[in-house]
Amino acid sequence: MQGLIDRLSALLSDGTVARVLGWKKGDMPYNPEPHMFETAESLKDFVYDGFCGANLSKMMIEASKLEGKTAVCLKPCDSYSFNQLIREHRVDRENAYIIGVGCRGKLDIDKARANGIKGIEEVSGTELDGPDSVSFKTIYGDKEMSYSDLLLGRCHVCKGKEHMIYDELWGESKDTADSERFDEVKALEAMSPAERFEFFKKELSKCIRCNACRNVCPACSCRKCAFDNNNFDSQQKANVDSFEEKMFHIIRAFHVAGRCTDCGECSRVCPEGIPLHLFNRKFIKDIDELYGEFQAGKDPEAQSPLTDYTFEDCEPGIVAERSNG
């Protein structure tokens, strides 16, 4: 990590970049937060470890409007989101200096908690070149858990270790995929409609409309959002409208269909643990099957499947045919 900090301060000192977008130590050892570093001295709080799951590409929308270049640390999967934002003309590539940071999967503190590790005071072994097990120092004594058991759900279906876009690379990446991307969706599709409905009803009933999924999503970057209520000053607040209450997640998934890079941030930030990626991944699976394989953010020139058509497209009746076997 020191090597990365040294490189970033060199970039700041020689004037290549005016600021650095990275992660700063949080109040707990497992919750670093995105932060804009303006001076080389402030980089002493910079951190890059296994808990730096946040995708910084969305913050580049505002950062790339500022004077001078911004250095941004992007993990391989974040680089897809950045590419997609270039495709949508939301970020200015010229104003970004992209450090492609290595990644060996990011960690989910809830997995540790579920394993009975509570009262955490210190965590070690989460660095990029760290060991295969993570040590926790808790108020109840020392605990240990393997790195792979702590991985976020999205890292089990890792898109690979290649950065789609970068100016320079730092650190070795590791492909952490150990299960099929669409397995969860397929398992749901195999259920009966009534079972599926019960599943989604159970999950969506947990939603508190905190808008965290919307605010973190790099694809949800419209200047004016369909969910903002302009009649009140509290623009970010949830609307009290039963339609929105019920359909929020379906509408949101549809709005990002064909643009979602499957970065998994929505599920990571959900305070209620709703598996929101299941909606997006269903759209991705359908698009792949019906209109040909498409990975948003892989190619900044590629046309999104929903803004395109062919004369030979399948008819909507195919949904019933596929579903009823």
Partner: protein
């Protein structure tokens, strides 16, 4: 559940009809004295491509038991390509509704030209029968146990 006096279920069907083809097709069905059930409420749209997927969700939320979108045959769109975009959008939306557990018979897209009054009437009769057999739509209105 809305019922007739003899206890028969009367569904609420919303039909989004393209102004240039299907709406005229419905007109032709009328002037040809071909009947279709009064349960079908037609909403005229300039093009099937105008149908925002939210319209369909909104219709279900407001108590529709089935939603059908009628547009020009592929290749015949008044605006050249609106129905091609609608075709992709609706395929994905219907697939998502099926995925969350809404019966897939409740949604349909049918291409009806201005000359196909008979097809319009037959389609609507068939669709209403299908929805009658499925019964009232309760799922989408109850997706978050809020009621």
């Amino acid at each position: 559940m809305p019922m007739t006096e003899n206890g028969e279920f009367r569904p609420l069907i919303v039909a989004f009809c393209c102004n240039w083809c299907s709406y005229a097709g419905a007109d032709l069905a009328g002037s040809s004295r071909l009947s279709y059930p009064a349960d079908v409420k037609i909403i005229r749209v300039p093009c099937s491509g105008r149908v925002n997927p939210m319209f369909i969700l909104r219709a279900f939320e407001r108590g529709a038991d089935g939603v059908i979108i009628c547009g020009c045959h592929p290749g015949d769109c008044h605006y050249t390509s609106g129905n091609y975009f609608a075709r992709r959008r609706m395929t994905l939306l219907f697939s998502m509704l099926d995925y969350i557990g809404v019966e897939n018979g409740r949604t349909r897209v049918e291409w009806v030209s201005a000359a196909e009054g008979a097809k319009f009437s037959a389609t609507m009769n068939e669709f209403v029968e299908k929805i009658k057999s499925l019964g009232e739509n309760v799922r989408l209105g109850d997706l978050r146990c809020k009621d």
